[in-house]
Subunit: 415 residues, 2 copies
């Protein structure tokens, strides 16, 4: 087994000023290539602490990934500690220096003297290119153990992992493991974990003895992770695509994407591909669905606009919902949801209208219409309907789940 | 010095399936009562790993806080490992059992047999009550070291920290430290770090030699953390309120709150207090401001509705912005922002209208109107204006900063 450890370095992490979101990102990516993370540690900008961790890594871990402490100020101790620990020295790397100068140039600034220091790199290290920042990453090998040092800024670190580190690690991991591991996550929506399990049936007969299938429920839908082992990357890919095909035959209808896909992004792509336009009418979520539909650049090709009809007066006067109907069925009802979706579609002259009306809570519920009751309305030229949902007691989660339910309906309509 | 460590326990953390947001929360709360965190560790659901960490804690840390591994299944090893490590035994706690039964009763369910196990607690432990879940927390003392075990679900863990753990720790920390420490964070908006520093002037003369003032910039405004040391809680409070007063004299205009306050919440309270109504017109943020204004229960008293006028056709036909003006000045302009705010205010018949129009990016910028250019429009019965902002290249950050800028304007108008 190849064991790995993640070390996050930075006083601001220990003070709780920022959350360490890097560790989960790195762990997921490493797991997918067969290198599970066995330990995550967060330490301050303290030389002695880092040395203790490096000693532990040298003994116990094949791969150690460090984030943080590569900035140009005296607080940043990672590089100098690595140089001391590995009896190395710093040398000027001209291409890194050029890159740093260029980054400042692009912002119309001259490089401050202090940043020149970042172009000095440990002589034994391979450089991991940092396209988005001034601190290069380092790859150091010692006693067959690998030490990787990356900047702590997620925006800089993430592409360094996906574009460089994973490829470099893959090359060394297969000989060590004696097999090739591949993981893929299937993303589903609109179905519960138990219903999925029933559709799939006996897991062993579908995926075989050597491979693994795990169910991972979340607020935005159930994910299925498949782990495959094979003697080569080609064979792992082959087995994986066979398994994905088998699973798709059983539950294909509920699959919206894989791995890092999001329902937002998928629906965005579906709308672009079909050349359809959309408008929104939202009550309890009040703009959350509209902002989800405009998360990505290019959404102006399909998103025309929306009305956040939080109050009844807005539903009636701006959106033109029938006041008698609201009085008769209530603002949170199938009838109102359908009228909201249809009216907004006509008002904005779009192909699709989608609406959300519900009781987000924690107050406002009754026995008949409890907190968590949410209707999603859908309307296009040919049909209109509303789907009832009963979520929980938490306002924030109810609003998120309502947006997800609306995106889920759009996904199914646009397949 | 009182040293503390946080141990997060759970395979799902090492797999990167969920982020460890607990550690930052706990670290911040501990720091505020004078117990800085020196180390955070994440391990799997593995007995031997937890024992190694407990041994390290017994040697090196006054306080160890563990999260996770307290569920009722066989994967959850925290409680049984603690019992073994401290040579303790489990005893049934009747009031915990009652509480668990009641939680299931409230959901209309009978308690499954497996959950009864959660009512067995280590005999040496003090119980930390878990109002929101079935797993109680534990407080164990050994060799003057404190070990605290809490569930990993944030929704359960957080109130246990604020309602119980912090009070219990405060009592033991003062005798150990020999002084009382208190920290408070001042939240500001609408001003840069350097401008704040200039207004405050020489820090030492304001806050004295014994206390500390730190500047913490973030995307939503600059925060100032004040650390105070005194011989009693009363004196710490006294010194703190004097320092807050001094700082407020210098920068009071820019302060919107303290500690866990958010601009959303403050503006919500201001609108409720003044009894004013509001409506929104959003282009590039398309509903993000409306959803921020409705984040909390009770927002129906002031938020009437909003229009997400992402396209020009919506700006013109739904919001009634003058087409010639859009043609002459552009959709992203002072003129259009003012018209959007004024029109939405009149259309929804509210006291205040607020608008956002900008180029979120990454495409759509020109030399004259680059990506990151955002106008916020404000309108009430007496006046209307727009404020120009130039943010950066990142679409997500630009949208967040635009919402924050709009809330900031509302805050200043509603003071």
């Amino acid at each position: 087994m190849v064991k790995s450890k993640i070390i996050a370095i930075g006083d601001e992490l220990l003070l709780g000023q920022i959350e360490n979101s890097n560790a989960a990102f790195i762990a997921q990516k490493l797991y997918n290539i067969g290198i599970p993370v066995h330990r995550m540690v967060t330490i301050g900008d303290v030389r002695e602490e880092l040395i203790l961790e490096l000693e532990d890594s040298l003994k116990n871990f094949n791969v150690t990934i460090m984030t943080g402490g590569l900035g140009p100020t005296h607080d940043d101790i990672t590089k100098s500690t690595l140089v001391n620990f590995f009896n190395d020295k710093l040398i000027l790397n001209e291409s890194v220096l050029e890159h740093i100068k260029k980054l400042f140039e692009n912002r119309g600034m001259e490089m401050p003297e202090i940043n020149k220091e970042q172009a000095f790199v440990p002589s034994k290290a391979k450089i991991i290119w940092n396209e988005n920042g001034t601190a290069p990453g380092f790859w150091i090998e010692e006693n067959n153990k690998i030490f990787i040092s990356l900047p702590g800024v997620p925006f800089e670190m993430k592409p360094m992992i996906t574009d460089s580190v994973l490829h470099m690690l893959k090359e060394m991991v297969v000989p060590l493991l004696g097999y090739y591991q591949k993981s893929k996550t299937i993303l589903t929506t609109g179905i519960t974990e138990s219903a999925l399990a029933e559709l799939i049936g006996d897991v062993k007969t579908i995926i075989g003895e050597n491979n693994k299938l795990a169910f991972l429920p979340s607020a935005t839908g159930v994910r299925l992770r498949i782990d495959v082992k094979a003697d080569s990357e080609e064979n792992a890919d082959l087995v994986m695509s066979k398994l994905i095909k088998k699973v798709t035959e059983k539950i294909g209808k509920y699959i919206y994407g894989f791995d890092d896909d999001t329902l937002n992004k998928i629906v965005h792509n579906q709308l672009v591909k079909k050349g359809l336009t959309i408008s929104t009418a939202e009550s309890c979520t009040s703009g959350m669905l509209a902002s989800a539909l405009t998360e990505f650049s290019g959404s102006s090709s399909f998103f025309i606009g929306g009305i956040n009809s939080y109050s009844n007066v807005t539903k009636i006067e701006i959106l033109g919902v029938n006041a008698d109907a609201i009085h008769k069925y209530g603002a949170v009802s199938e009838e109102t949801a359908i009228e909201m979706a249809t009216n907004v579609r006509k008002k904005f002259n779009t192909d699709i209208g989608i609406s959300i009306t519900g009781i987000a809570g924690p107050t406002g519920g009754t026995d008949e219409k409890p907190v968590g009751l949410v209707y999603i309305g859908y309307s296009d030229e040919k049909k209109a309907y509303a789907i009832k949902n009963l979520f929980g007691n938490n306002r924030e989660r109810n609003r998120l789940r309502a947006v997800n339910a609306a995106l889920s309906i759009l996904h199914f309509e646009l397949v």
